[in-house]
């Protein structure tokens, strides 16, 4: 193996408690990196992370302790290396690093400066909610002494009370004209790209690596979305095709409906967990209600009529009544879904095909059994909720600690098209194919099911991007 080109090294620096570790969490997509708290001095050592492209280290990021004592450190530097000596920046910093105070009062600052000297550039994280102060300017002048480019990263730009303009002006006055807005909790979709692009302007020798990183960010995002849509499509096909047969008396219908609902709830929470895992967010091992999802809406039961109303889904007459909402009783479709052609195919293979299965269905028909299937509105609700979750996950930084908020997608003014319009064809097809549902005991793999999943995936992708575009286009 040939050694790859030396990875780019970036030190993440800044005043204490501005979100340096949060930036690393978001860039590395690792919610467990380091420690995060709204307190000064949470990180007190330099901690590194390798960003990989195809298993190769492309970028090394170093989380550093916060700078807290820059004013006093500048005083000390003036004593150590008076301006009259005309030492250049890095030499002054090196003299400081050799001094006794670099292991005592300024031990933390020394770690930061040592790391920045060894790196190719620094990302200076700014909490734009803080006022611009003299100590910040002193920090920047210390960092500039290290002789490497420094790119200000403006954090918390989505916060209500922020001083973005003040910061921009102040940074420009210090000669830092390039900066990037990057909210570590809710980064813009193209936040990482912008960051790498700005860096590439500052360091054209590393433009290749940064371009590759950019490319990788795009590819991985597309991959994640494809996988997520696939997971959702599988869930919907499973739900649409689910059929539970039950004896016709009222008591067994009630009992079977409860089981039916529980099966679907568990299937939904399995999908939620899978999505969280795919986006590398932490999912507690507990069932749905303890998942970190915010809002009444999610807590609302899948089969609660109010949950449907809230989402603007048209309720059928049966649904409004509420008693056994969510499931429809069909007459038993004995053998009908098998179709003549399948029987013919079975004959070709020697008439094996699930003779017992067919027998069971015919028997059910004779005994007057009924079948439970999922109501359309609930199916719509399932689809919209999963898309809302996917939207939330795409816009969530790995530094975020609050519960996942589905409301931005759900409160949009435009319809997703799933509320009222006809259901996608693939879902309608799944309705008559009980063997397509992995929740059914007689599930059989079939390439038709795979086709339906692929079709539905495409339909969901269209719906999602249409809704997202409508959301962002709104002023």
């Amino acid at each position: 193996m040939t050694a790859p080109a030396r990875p780019l090294r970036l030190a993440v620096v800044g005043h204490t408690n501005t979100g340096k570790t949060s930036l690393l969490r978001t860039l590395t997509r690792d919610p467990d990196f380091g420690q995060v708290a709204d307190q000064p001095g949470t990180t007190r050592h330099v901690e590194g992370a390798n960003l990989l492209i195809d298993g190769q280290v492309a970028l090394q990021l170093f989380d550093t302790p916060g700078l807290e004592d820059s004013i006093a450190l500048l005083d000390y530097l003036d004593v150590l290396a008076p301006p009259a000596q005309r030492l250049d920046g890095p030499d002054r910093i090196r003299r400081f690093l050799d001094s006794p105070e670099s292991t005592r009062r300024f031990e933390q600052e020394a770690r930061v400066l040592r790391q920045l000297l060894e790196c190719d550039a620094g990302l200076y994280v700014v909490d734009v909610r803080d006022p611009v102060l003299g100590k910040h300017k002193d920090e920047l002048s210390l960092l500039a002494s290290c002789g490497h480019p420094v790119l200000p990263v403006l954090n918390f730009v989505n916060a209500p009370a922020q001083r973005l303009e003040q910061w921009r002006t102040a940074l420009a006055r210090l000669g830092l004209h390039a900066s990037v807005e990057f909210d570590t909790v809710a980064p813009a979709l193209d936040g990482e790209q912008q960051l790498y692009e700005r860096l590439a302007i500052l360091m054209d020798t590393h433009a290749g690596v940064l371009k590759a990183l950019n490319q990788n960010v795009l590819e991985q995002r597309a991959l994640r979305r494809r996988d997520a849509l696939r997971l959702i499509a599988e869930l919907l096909i499973d739900a649409a095709a689910l059929r539970v047969s039950c004896p016709p008396d009222e008591e067994s219908v009630r009992k079977h409906t409860l089981t039916f609902r529980e099966t679907l709830r568990q299937r939904e929470s399995a999908c939620v967990r899978a999505l969280l895992k795919r986006y590398n967010f932490k999912a507690s091992d507990s069932p749905t209600n303890v998942l970190p999802l915010q809002g009444e809406r999610w807590g609302m039961d899948l089969f609660h009529p109010q949950a449907l109303k809230d989402m603007g889904i048209h309720l059928g007459k049966g649904m409004a009544a509420g008693a056994m909402a969510g499931a429809t009783l069909d007459a038993f479709t004995a053998g009908l879904s098998l179709g003549a052609a399948t029987l013919l195919g079975a004959a070709a293979g020697g008439l094996w095909q699930g003779a017992d299965k067919l027998g069971k269905r015919v028997l059910g028909r004779v005994q007057g059994y009924r079948e439970l299937t999922l109501d359309d509105p609930v199916l719509r609700l399932l689809a919209i909720r999963q898309l809302a979750l996917l939207h939330a996950l795409e816009h969530r930084g790995h530094a975020a600690q609050g519960p996942i908020d589905l409301n931005p997608f759900l409160n949009k003014e435009t319809d997703t098209g799933l509320e009222k319009a006809a259901l996608p064809d693939a879902l309608l097809a799944a309705r008559s194919q009980p063997t397509w549902s992995t929740l059914n005991s007689d599930y059989t793999a079939s390439s038709k099911r795979a086709d339906a999943v692929a079709q539905l995936e495409q339909a969901l992708a269209d719906t999602l991007s249409k809704t997202q575009n409508a959301t962002t286009a709104r002023p």
Binding site: D38, H45, D69, P131, D138, T342, G350, Q353, A445
Partner: protein
């Protein structure tokens, strides 16, 4: 042979996926580590993980067992096909004691194979995506024979795998066509052997049809074999073979050539063509078998097997948290004397001074930056006020530098240093941090105020107007 094939690995991965989907995830920490270490693409890592898990869970054994079972079953089927083919041929010719009805012999030899062939073609064209009967039958049988929950996984996984690749029909076609081919070959060999070793008389019989019909049938069927060089009896011989006349030996030889030719062309050749075609399709679709990375169960593993980042360690352990200490103990609070007030890095939104100053309180201004800090310290050492009120913005994060400066501010004060914590924005949790850190630094908690009125009252009680310094705000 199979153990090393990509199909085997793929199959094993599918078994693990199904198993995890049915009965929950396996503990795969070690497998994931090995897969990450082995490297390669995501799909290759999935295979490595499956291999490690398969060995641990003894699923490889299950697979091998199932594989050898399938081999035995196929062998038995092949033997049965050989026997059936030979027996059919022997039965069609009889023992030579009575003459052979050529048309009935042909029907006995080709009837069933042709019928099944037609059914196969029909189902292949009408239901291209459906699971073929043979595959269904195989699955059904192995489910009935399966001992233990794992045993049914192997065939189910194979079905999933072949359905994903749309090659179930081709693979089952390979099996069924080879079996029929074996049977027909055995039939032809038996035919040739019997016809070589025994004397048979061929004839045709009819009650309803005319001799012309037999001439037409025989010639019609004989055209294609004729192209391959098989003999066809001439019209005279056919007319003579009405069973009422004794045929010359050469005529019987012609009839046997015609019979063999028909079996080869209408029985063996189509099966051979379809076998070759199916083998080609199956090879094309199953070759380079890699798992589908978007399948549920695989997709979630992406970030664990292909992490976006890896930790790169820390530079050195973190030192204990450094807290600046205020030097001297507080003097008596009641001591009346001069008083001053100073603001530290207050944002512009906060009015300065925060309240109307009682008479005699020196206003040292709101300070920010190095030179102002020095100026205020110089002023304090010059004036030695008895009491000092320091106003801080509790919305900012208290840092070491600030605390160290607060400790320095308190040194020249002969009485007490009091604090007023104001909040420019509502971030309550930071107020607690301030209170905590001031306490850590040695300041009395009773001297920390959060309400301007409280602070003003204290100032009013301690200040003696006579001792007023003619203070003016520092620029």
């Amino acid at each position: 042979m199979l153990a090393a094939s990509p199909l085997h690995h793929c199959w094993l991965a599918e078994i693990i996926r199904l198993r995890e989907a049915r009965w929950g995830p396996l503990d795969d920490t070690d497998a994931v580590r090995q897969a990450r270490h082995a490297g390669g693409s995501f799909q290759q890592r999935l295979l490595t993980r499956a291999r490690v898990l398969g060995e641990r869970e003894q699923l490889s054994q299950v697979l091998n067992q199932w594989h050898s079972l399938a081999r035995v079953a196929l062998l038995l089927l092949a033997l049965a096909a050989l026997f059936t083919g030979a027996a059919t041929a022997a039965g069609a010719l009889g023992d030579g004691s009575r003459s052979v009805n050529s048309i009935l012999a042909l029907v006995a030899l080709l009837g069933l194979p042709t019928l099944t062939l037609l059914l196969w073609l029909l189902s292949a064209f009408m239901q291209p995506g459906q699971t073929s009967g043979l595959a269904q039958a195989g699955l059904w049988i192995s489910n009935k024979l399966a001992r233990g929950p794992n045993a049914s996984l192997a065939p189910a996984a194979l079905l999933e795998l072949t359905q994903q690749r749309r090659s179930t029909r081709a693979l089952s076609g390979v099996v069924s066509h080879s079996l029929w081919l074996l049977a027909l070959l055995a039939g032809v060999v038996t035919l040739v052997a019997l016809l070589s070793a025994r004397r048979y008389n061929f004839n045709w019989e009819t009650t309803l049809l005319s001799p012309e019909a037999f001439v037409a049938i025989t010639h019609g069927l004989g055209v294609l074999p004729g192209l391959l060089g098989f003999s066809t009896p001439s019209e005279a011989i056919i007319r003579a073979s009405d069973g009422l006349q004794t045929l010359p030996d050469s005529a019987n030889a012609l009839w046997s050539g015609w019979l063999i030719g028909c079996v080869v062309v209408y029985g063996i050749l189509p099966r051979l063509v379809l076998l070759v075609l199916n083998v080609a399709i199956a090879r094309k679709r199953m070759g380079h078998c890699l798992p589908d990375p978007a399948l549920p169960g695989f997709a979630e593993l992406h970030d664990r097997l292909m992490p976006a980042s890896t930790p790169a360690g820390i530079d050195a352990p973190a030192p204990p948290l450094f807290t600046p200490q205020k030097g001297l103990q507080d003097h008596a609070d009641t001591l009346a004397g001069s008083a001053a007030i100073v603001g530290l890095e207050l944002p512009h939104e906060l009015a300065w001074p925060p309240f109307e100053l009682p008479d005699g309180v020196a206003n040292l201004g709101n300070i920010d930056g190095r030179s102002e800090r020095h100026a205020v310290l110089d002023r304090l050492y010059a004036d030695h006020p008895a009491h000092l009120m320091i106003v801080c913005d509790a919305s900012q994060t208290p840092d070491r530098g600030t605390l160290a400066f607060l400790a320095e501010l308190a040194k020249p004060v002969t009485g007490r240093g009091h604090f007023l914590l104001l909040q420019s924005t509502s971030r309550g949790e930071r107020l607690t941090t301030w209170q905590h850190m001031l306490k850590q630094a040695g300041f009395n908690k009773d001297n920390v105020h959060t309400h301007p009125q409280q602070a003003r009252n204290w100032l009013a009680t301690v200040v003696t107007p006579q001792a007023t310094h003619k203070g003016s705000p520092t620029p």
